[in-house]
Symmetry: C2
Subunit: 308 residues, 2 copies
């Protein structure tokens, strides 16, 4: 090990961004998890979590420490010990990439201690942490959390990640007080979809990449629709259609589900507060759900805040 | 009518380009159809075709004249007559957008006579010409033939077309001596596809748009694969897998079907002749098919060659 201690700030992300099911991710400026790792004598491994209750502290069951250990495995490091502290800045199971934030934080923390800079290794280890929770190894959240901005998993098998700087816009995120487990959100998806829906989504996905690269926020909003997952998953989010309409009526450029939900997000160039209020009020009025909500912007990826 | 005579050169195109089924189109520099329109006394309408036999010369059944008349209809012009000459530069039913070339040529010819410059009208009329042959109104070939370069029908309902200047590369096109009717090529497609294939295609489509905008020909080749149509349609093209392999073994960056086939094309930065020879030889050896073949590059769209 090259260092003794590292502190990582790792962001929330919106996976399945618009038409990019299992492929697109947008990094948020906030909220963020803070993962601190401290080197200990070999064999000692402990995890503490603050900011949220019910998260496992067994190092083999916690996503952050699990990702950290897999990173160490991949680098051939066996003799080490650590204590890790995870300060959760976001609500797990809400569709804003909580487990990805912790996984990326853990993997980057261990990589920093070891002096490892290979981003593909860090990404792979983080995806293993995600897999522990989600049941399958997906890269859309972890890629966005590690690299920041807008990311596209353009070839999952080859681990090809495209990194695109998004235009400037505001993001309104509303988290209704229900939890959607990633595993369950997968179960509601059909095994096959109409060819016409597949064509519609690939066309919109092409439009989304074009809009991001042209830095055209209005067009990003226009291409936020999806036919592959949102029509099925929105059933797990009572009031989604009404909330979506309230956001658009208040001037939002586009609305979709964050990850596998229940997060609903809207993007806008103005009136973010008004849109947020409308969405929160509509959740309450249409389905009796209280919500947390916040406004943020596209953000940078995970950063090493301190190393010593 | 503002003019008496117009001569239009309208290019071949590769629709369904790679993963962009029903959405992506690439304009070829050659071959091209030449459509000449000459104003006549009202009511007289005649069509002549050279360069290929068996193409209808009834003005209501020929794609070029049909598109021209629909353009006139949309502009509210009723009292007119014309004679149209279509010099076919390409083989119909071969997957390189023969009917789109003629449709765009016809629509642009009439628009030129009338002094109409609204590209959305020309596109719509051309798509009507396509519909006459294909049975459904698709914009992927006509958009590429009208605008040139690489085009994306990102929202078919709203007729949103993205226009992207492609990088420089060579295109080897091989046309085996079989014909695939567009209608039949649609019939072999499944009504629904695995969700995983839909995700794979949208990811590759995103990668293709990114590669085109980054002007990265190698990446364009890497994203040429498709899971939505080629696996089904290649059964109509005996020897496709072998021909594809022969092109890749000879250094091609990527290979796919042109339109609904039987055209098979490869893109490359070098050794285009060698690749062409390998593909032609492999068609012959693997399935006994003779082929026409040519080498071209991405091209400009339809142009007005003369107007008087």
């Amino acid at each position: 090990m090259r260092y003794n201690k590292a502190v990582i700030s790792s962001p929330a992300t919106l996976a399945n961004f618009g038409p990019g099911f299992d492929s697109f991710g947008l990094c948020l400026d906030s909220p963020r998890d803070t993962v601190t790792i401290q080197l200990r004598q070999p064999g000692r491994r402990e995890v503490k979590v603050s900011g949220w209750s019910g998260i496992p502290t067994d190092p083999e069951k916690n996503t952050a420490s699990y990702a950290a250990m897999r990173l160490a495995d991949m680098c051939g490091c066996e003799e080490y010990g650590f204590s890790m502290t995870i300060k959760k800045g976001m609500k797990p199971g809400s569709g804003i990439g909580s487990s990805a934030a912790s996984s990326v934080g853990g993997a980057l923390a261990m990589a920093t201690l070891m002096g490892v800079r290979d981003e593909s290794l860090i990404l792979e280890a983080a995806a293993m942490g995600e897999e522990l929770i989600a049941g399958s190894r997906h890269f859309d959240n972890v890629a966005a959390a590690l690299h920041g901005g807008f990311t596209v998993v353009s070839d999952a098998r080859k681990r090809t990640i495209l990194r695109i700087k998004p235009p400037s816009f505001q993001i309104v995120v509303v988290l209704p007080e229900i939890s959607v487990e990633t595993r369950k959100a997968r179960e509601v998806l059909p095994k096959s979809v109409p060819l016409s829906d597949a064509v519609s989504n690939l066309s919109m996905a092409a439009g989304m990449v074009h809009s991001m690269m042209k830095r055209d926020a209005r067009a990003v909003g226009e291409y936020l629709d999806d036919t592959l997952s949102v029509p099925y998953r929105k059933k797990l989010v009572p009031g989604f259609d009404e909330v979506r309409k309230s956001a658009l009526d208040s001037g939002a450029l586009g609305v979709s589900l964050g990850g596998s939900g229940p997060a609903v997000f809207a993007i806008t160039l103005e009136n973010a507060s008004k849109i947020k209020q409308a969405m929160v009020r509509t959740f309450l009025e249409s389905s009796g759900l209280e919500s947390e909500s916040f406004i943020t912007v596209p953000g940078e990826g995970a950063i090493v805040e301190k190393v010593s």
